[in-house]
Amino acid sequence: MSGKSVLKRIDWLSVLFYVLLLTIGWVNIYSSTFSESDSSIFDFSTLHGKQLFFILTSFASIVILLALEANFYERFSSVLYIISMVLLLGLFAFGKTIAGATSWYDLGFFNLQPSELAKVATALALAKYLSDIQTDIKRNKDQLYAFLIILIPAILIIPQPDPGSALVFFSLSFVIFREGLPIYYLGIAFFAILIFVTTLMFGTIWITIGIALILILFFLLKKKKFKVPVIPTTIAVVLTILFSLSVDFVFNNVFEQRHRDRFSLWLRLEKDPAKLEQIRKTIGYNTYQSEKAIESGGFWGKGFLEGTRTKGDFVPEQHTDYIFSTVGEEWGFLGTATVVLLFTFLLLRLVYLSERQKTGFARMYGYGVISILLVHYFINIGMVIGVLPTIGIPLPFFSYGGSGLLFFTALLFIFLKLDANRLKEGI
């Protein structure tokens, strides 16, 4: 198979979204790290210069990724998975600590973050396991194995500590759901989150009253013939209330103050202006500054290199996790809406591509890619605009960082390669 034919069959729409995001991202990194003394955009001593180098490296790697045989990825996914797990383990001994997290290997010219590699590897391994003929996702044992594939890297990553990345692995459970895991698993999880949040906001008493009201309403409106399963309903209600009580207990006794502060910031639980001000200066500083920067951009934005808060470095880590606030300040709602739409279109396009795959492996890997990208995008922007609690996680294709960009590129283009090859499979 020649490279030329790959270029003909590759999904250029996805490539376009990818390139657009990369370009917008780099422009904003340039603005965030720009200083008057910078001479050239190719100055590799500056952060935006380095990022440009990473972008070029990523383009080079795309050539290699597309040139490899499509079935290479399926075949070597287990090996890749094992290698990445070993690398994650190795961090405990040889890891380099940056900003409090032991997540990197120091390769001299480059810091390698193995958790990024593990994301690709896990997505591949999960797809391979689930697409295996002997795997039946309806079996509890197979469900357990599938979850283990996800859990192992997550568990290895949590103590780094890097809860954000760990969360990414959990998101891969979408793939399992897509492949037949009963949907009520998801329903229960969603319900638990709902109870958790509402308990924090309103308290157990109101939860109980709410449930009682719903039950009364239900009894009033139900058809006469319908028989209520009394025992399971009672158990469910009791469990819910117990869970709600335990949330209270855990929040007040197990969580540390900084965790509580994050939640109270997120759910706007704190009403006392003095304490709110305190939170804004400490735990909520980043979120507050980033919200303010975005707000100050207005509809049209302040213009490229004109963001005063960006120039003044008011938002910490603005070129990495908080890059989206630069978009907000300098490009306004026009810019932020464009980025959100680009991500939405790219993800929807990938859903479409996954669904048209002929092989289970390619489809499941596609879902893995979507899950990983989606959870990054969701948590990162949600955090920057203040609708989610602070969890440090980069914005794909956008945030400054070499390994991140490289592996996000790999993640995407392995799938695009599989997609380009879908008609050849099974011949």
Partner: protein, 622 residues
Amino acid sequence: MKKLLLSSIIVIIGITFLGRLSYLQIFSFSPDQVLEDPAIKRVYDYPERGYIYDRNGKLLVGNDPAYDVMVIPREVRELDTLEFCSLLGIDKAKFKKELHKARVYSPRLPSVFVPQLSKEDYARLQEKMRHYRGFYIQKRSLRYYDTKSAANVLGYISEVNDRDLAKNPYYVQGELTGRTGVEKQYEDILRGRKGVQYIQKDRYNRDIGKYKGGIMDTLPEQGLEINITIDKTLQEYGELLMNGKRGGIVALEPSSGEILAMISGPTYDPSLLVGRERSKNYSKLHYDSISKPLFDRSILAEGSPGSPFKTLNALVALQEGVITPNTTVQCYNGFYVGRKKRGCHCGGGLRKLNDGIYKSCNAYFAATFRKIYDKFETTDDGMDVWEKHMKSFGLGQYLGYDLPTGKKGRIPSKEYYDKWYGDNRWSSSYIISNSIGQGEVAATPIQLANMTAAIANRGHYFTPHILKKVDGKDISIPDFVEPKHTTIDKKHFEPVIQGMADVYEKGTARWLQIPDVKIAGKTGTVENYTKIDSVRVQLTDHSVFVAFAPVEDPKIAIAVYIENGYYGSRYAGHIASLMIEKYIKGEITRKDLEKRMLEKTLEKEYAKPYSGKEFKINEYVW
């Protein structure tokens, strides 16, 4: 269903984000004003405050540079503390204490380390300062007073308060503004306009360059110097004469309305309200509730004008045609109000207008006052006419001078008496005290001076004012240049002025003549009362005097009001006479008179009501 799940999640997330972003960027967006943006620091360049000179170009208020040693704690590096301390003239304990204080305030922002170095210390330190990182010298400008007088005129400056900030967006915390007097009135002229530089800073408050390349920056505009109408020599001399006396003096130039002197006693040295001791001194002055040095008696003290007011009643009567200069009134050492006799000190006999004035006959003016009212069918009509005439002399209303405070005084109207006695339940005999300047009329010293100027001008006055020149150029404010005409015809003034001149020639002030200067004046002796433990107690009379000179070509019109100075020619008359001589001749020929005024004080008189004992009033002792 499952196929759609992920797509719907993606779409829902997108919609949520767009919703939140539009909330942030469209609905709660407030244009990030430069003023509110924490990333932009404004650095001000303050122009020097304008100097204040007197009418003859003598300096009254200038500026003195003051040098503060400032510190930015986080920039401080290892230094030779011993040498540094000896340079600054402080000990090591103080060094540590101040540095700690500054660090507690803010490690990144400058604090004052040692305030107000002397010029010598500054010269010594200046070149060595660069060896001490984190320390620098900031120049400030303090008001410097080239006189110990005129505090009430000049006013003072102090830091803006919350009210000033709310009222005028020009100011920011820590800036200075004129608080009273000329400093307040002409704040905008004296202050100039500060220049602003917008500096882009980072979250550590470090400067990282000019905001937008400095296109919004402005240069400071210099404050302008002004000349005020005060005659420094006369003002200072008047304050010397006021030694130990309470009251107000206002001297005007009748031909222009310019205020030559405006004295309030007791007063204070204006330099007390500058510099490090400012707030201590201020509270001391503020809480002196007995002699009230911050109360400007020259424009705020409303009191009965006393006998000088007779001249106006005479003018009104002449204008209304109810008397001629030859109309006679018999004085029986007093006059009757109903059955009650009111006294007179003129000696009794047949009085005409001329000796009615110079002997200050109460009976003559009581009769004259009645005649004004008898001309009209009702007292109400008479009252209206009388009130109109009086107000045309600037009484009973704000004069419109250019100082930030003032009082209206009072010319009672029929409404006033209707309210007091009930509708139409009063007649001219109820209000007869006004005929001799007692009763309900009240005026401030500046109003009395203005009234005198109107007489001196034979029928018009110019609004008194304090501003003479701005930036060396004469001002031309229409309100100050146009004459205000009284309602009395010019011809009626001569007989009254003759009477006033005779006050000096043969009347109540005959021993206060100035050689070679012809003066016209009128004495006043004002009965007054206070309450001691809610009992009405009479105090020694206020001594009042108005005068102008020379009679034919008036250069100065003056009103002197000395609290509890006994009869008119005693303190007020002396002071008026000396002030006129000082202004017209430039020197005092009657040294004994001067010596008496410089030495005599009324402290004993003022102590009487507070002594807790019975006391005599109107004691004839020098």
